[in-house]
Symmetry: C2
Subunit: 629 residues, 2 copies
């Protein structure tokens, strides 16, 4: 029988493009048990170079990632015995370098450059990991690939989409069981007798196909913004140098142009070197990449770093040229059935280390929403919050990026140039920008999943921002645990019950009454629990009582489904960690219920006596449990 | 050709017995590149039960273990990018449970028991990990087995020694190249046509063959000490209970006998239940194990825990009975060629969680000494310090153990029993004992490798005790690093140069003079460096200067062979760790050189102007570099 040359298939989510955005998406969906495929037209994944900055919020995300509800028992067994080492962050800590210090150099009156100042590389006082990390993009991608592989999901490559059609029928688009997208894929390494074309019918298509996105063009999504004239050379090398800040991030303004240094894993370093137009522009004003190579970039670097010198006795690992462009797509989705993410919807100046981080955060925001909709837990309208949250962030980021890039590429202030950029101005922008680029400052506006009432009951857990990390003590065994580790990205909403002082009998009565109320059949836990409340919601309780006098059996069973789920705001036995959590979170002494979204953002706060508002929060986007379940 | 039935072979070190002592020894020697074999007569290794306590010092040892000089570049690459996750401790953190809190129960005036007090489970304020861990012995053994396997070393089993002879010829015994021990091994799973007997000629034999050691008996080494009359039942179970301290270590004195509870990995718990003679002793006064099973132990447990109840809906994982015996071997070595370690030379009450820890610490002490002697770096007399250090520790431990066991098995003080053990007396002994059992309090006496002069130059780094952990900041990149992670068990001596304030030019002159002096051809680095100084010695420098003003290029190259080797006594960018190290170590502001032995113990302290004493320290046991090297 002849082999058919065209194959047809169905899938729930088809991801196009296996860069950081696509891989984060595929990894998260694979762990959520979603029927997902990911394709890429490149035959192999990256080995060196490209984006490499890893910002504080993404380290947090890596740390709480790779957890799914079906694995939860296994996960618990491991978590309960571990402070640090689950999730994907342990791979980062093994393979990536940490960047703690930034150094600022400016023109010296004696010629050459001199150090003006040093400061923290990261401005993000609440970050769990208050430093930046760096690892080549291929290393980061491998972490995702290995994690997905444990769920049997692999990148199919080299595979190229050749056409995409989306149904225009509103009824089809609104039917959660429909497959409205038809995508034709072409295999690029056809072997004899195998089909080289496949038609895939997908419920959702996620375009993570980069700055020149094919999906974006197919749907006439346009990029808004412009390119600047600044031209930069980038290279990765193992340096021989007498420059004393070579292992710090450096922002260097010289008479000869600006440079940035970013330490890399091992002894490697990345240099960003500003190039003059004359070096790279041809007679018609266009960039001519043949005019510049790594030798030329090193020559400019040595002029800019004078009186220090830099050279290498190793081969150059990777190099490129780029022109800064800052643009955002005018929309992120087509009927919430085709969505774009990552470089496909925003491009930045690479020096902020933002491209890859914003890309991974895009699909970290999207993946749990897709999982909820596909499971029938949430209405498809939930997906609208993906564009509203992530596009606004990209726009804000780019506004900052423009300011920062202009300051950085601009001339420094010197005796002869009063108009130049002063160190104070530069440092101030670096730090303001840093809070933003760290990812820690991301703030989602009110929406179906961000309800800002009752903020005062947890005044420092800003609704719409990510949950603050803090170390608490488990009541049962006094082991310190980081709250972030207890609210992993496992697609569940986290219900954090701040009980107040459970050794106070009056307060304990309120806690018991709350448990009884929350356990009622019309309350959100049961109403939206789809017959599997602990699969949709994770309930943890945190008391302000002290460890010496508390028993884990103090709170009602709803608030401690396992002995590990009741925490205390107290320090460990040697006062090395923990304590002060109620104050850091601004918890009202009467107690509060805090809802943390599956992606780690605070969605809602409620006082004990207003569970109605909590019910309403979930009713805004969740589908009630069908009567049969 | 017929297969010969007797095989003959040579080996540098033959280890007999693959329990924790033998495996720690084989693991350490395999990573040191030593020609080592390890045999065991059991066909498979343990799956459940047995010893399980992991004390603070052993966690420290695990953390700095599995590093060898040949791997050092790879190790560096990983270390420089990692705060926590190298060595074997990360496996413990994943698989073992942590025990932070101890609870003390005593008879209640109303009948049954009540909680008297809670306190830290571990009394060891300087411990890097100030808690106890627990994991079944098979799990711990697997960590060693996996680590050895990376070096191609596996336990050969089932293989039994049937005879051992040691040469009596003094010249042979003193010749470092001789193989004076002849051991006959018999394979217990003979397959047709394969040799079932092997004669092994070994340079060194290490007997880790347990409490009933065959090696010990072959050489007429006797055990000193006695058994008590206390009989205990032990079982591991997943409990159903209303006892509020079930996840803490509990010491329970009841009218019905004493109990101890130790939390185990996952939801498992270990119970130690004191049994009455009538339950276990036959008419002739001998223990009759057939009289007691897990049901009987559970029945006694419920009487002792009243008014709380404990039961299980799972199968009992493991159980046993034991009688406390506290004994120490009268010697640990025969001509430094046959050595015994672990249970072969000391037995304790298991409740102190000491058997396994002391055993692993025995061979942690021994392995680097064997490696130095076998490489020709050290004289064979170095091995004498194994017995002098470890036997004295075992004797001290047993003295404490006797006191503690008597208090714990004794009747509690109650209204009707003024003679009983008071809580205050018990807690005091628990805490004194705790400093000792944690391993942190181990103090080796002056010897060839412990020279106590110049203590005042590092007044709190007690010579003969393990190096204190502390977090410093790398000068080059401000990354916080735990000093313990920089002084791994890689068989090298660590030369820690506390430079004083290197931003003070006068002090910097002293530091430069020191470097010049230390680099001289007659100084220990070259004299005992065997043509490979960085393979024998690791030099690190630590300045009291601050990160904002220091460059890693400030100190002479001898004190920073790589940018990562110059540290500062300062805190990180967010004041979360580091700082105060000079004070914590009691470093003289004029500076000091501290020698840390390969096993992590402080061997010597010297002022800058007395390198002669450092040379003498190493001359006491090291062999000078031959003129040809």
């Amino acid at each position: 029988m002849p082999v058919p040359l065209i194959k047809e298939s169905d899938v729930d989510v088809l991801i196009i493009g296996a860069g950081p955005a696509g891989l984060m998406c595929a990894m998260a969906l694979s762990h959520a048990g979603v029927n997902v495929r990911i394709i890429d037209q490149r035959a192999v994944n990256l080995a060196a170079g490209q984006a490499d900055g890893i910002q504080p919020r993404i380290i947090e995300v890596f740390q709480v990632t790779m957890v799914d509800v079906s694995d939860f028992d296994g996960f618990l067994m491991s978590l309960f015995t571990s402070l640090q080492s689950y999730g994907l962050a342990s791979r980062l800590f093994k393979e990536a370098v940490q960047v703690h210090m930034a150094a600022f150099y400016n023109p010296s009156p004696n010629g050459g450059i001199e150090r003006t100042d040093r400061a923290a590389d990261v401005t993000a006082p609440t970050a769990r990991y208050a430093f930046e990390m760096a690892l080549h993009q291929g290393g980061i991608e491998q972490i995702f690939l290995d994690s997905m592989a444990t769920k049997g999901v692999h990148v199919e490559r080299p595979l190229m989409p050749t056409s995409i059609e989306l149904s225009q029928d509103e009824a089809v688009l609104k039917d959660p069981t429909s497959h409205p997208a038809k995508v034709v894929l072409k295999r690029l390494d056809v072997s004899e007798g195998k089909p080289d074309t496949e038609i895939v019918y997908a419920k959702y298509v996620v375009g993570c196909d980069g700055a020149h996105s094919w999906i974006r063009k197919e749907f006439n999504i346009t990029m808004e913004g412009e390119q600047t004239d600044y031209i930069w050379g980038v290279l990765d090398l193992i340096p021989d140098t007498d420059f004393p800040d070579i292992r710090n991030r450096c922002a260097i303004h010289s008479h000869n142009g600006s440079c940035m240094i970013i330490p890399r894993e091992g002894d490697m370093v990345r240099l960003y070197i500003q190039l003059a137009d004359k070096d790279v522009v041809d007679s018609k004003g266009r960039v001519d990449k043949s005019k510049v190579g790594p030798e030329k970039i090193m020559e400019v670097a040595n002029k800019s770093l004078y009186p220090y010198t830099i050279s290498t006795s190793h081969p150059i690992d990777w190099w490129t040229l780029y022109i800064i462009g800052q643009r955002v797509a005018n929309r992120y989705s087509v009927h919430e059935r085709v969505l774009i993410a990552g470089d496909a919807c925003h491009t930045h100046s690479p020096k902020a280390g933002q491209g890859m981080n914003a890309s991974m955060n895009d699909t970290h925001n999207l993946a749990w929403k897709l999982a909820h909709v596909l499971r029938g837990w949430a209405d498809i309208s939930l997906l609208k919050t993906y564009e509203s949250e992530r596009r606004k962030y990209a726009q804000e980021l780019i506004e900052f990026d423009k300011r920062f890039a202009a300051l950085f590429s601009g001339k420094p202030r010197t005796e002869g140039n009063d108009e130049g950029v002063s160190h104070e101005e530069f440092l101030g922008t670096f730090q303001t920008f840093g809070l933003f680029t760290s990812g820690i400052g991301v703030h989602y506006q009110p929406s179906a999943i961000v309800h800002t009432q009752h903020q005062s009951f947890a005044s420092k857990l800003i609704i719409g921002q990510r949950m603050l990390p803090h170390i608490f003590i488990r009541a049962a065994d006094s082991q310190p645990v980081e709250l972030h580790d207890l609210i992993p990205s496992d697609t569940r909403f986290k219900v954090l019950v701040f009980t107040g002082d459970t050794t106070d009998t009056t307060q304990l009565d309120h806690v018991r009454a709350l448990a009884e109320d929350m356990n009622g059949p019309q309350r959100f836990l049961k109403k939206f629990g789809h017959g599997n409340t602990s699969g949709v919601f994770e309930v943890l309780s945190i008391s302000s009582a002290k460890k010496r006098y508390s028993n884990y059996t103090d709170v009602p069973p709803l608030f401690r489904s396992h002995w590990s789920k009741f925490l205390l705001d107290d320090c460990d036995m040697y006062n090395r960690s923990g304590g002060g959590g109620y104050e850091a979170y601004g918890i009202d002494p009467r107690g509060a219920v805090v809802i943390v979204r599956p992606d780690g953002y605070v969605g809602m706060v409620a006082p004990f006596d207003n569970l109605d508002d909590l019910d309403e929060y979930f009713a805004a986007f969740m589908v009630p449990t069908p009567p049969s379940a």
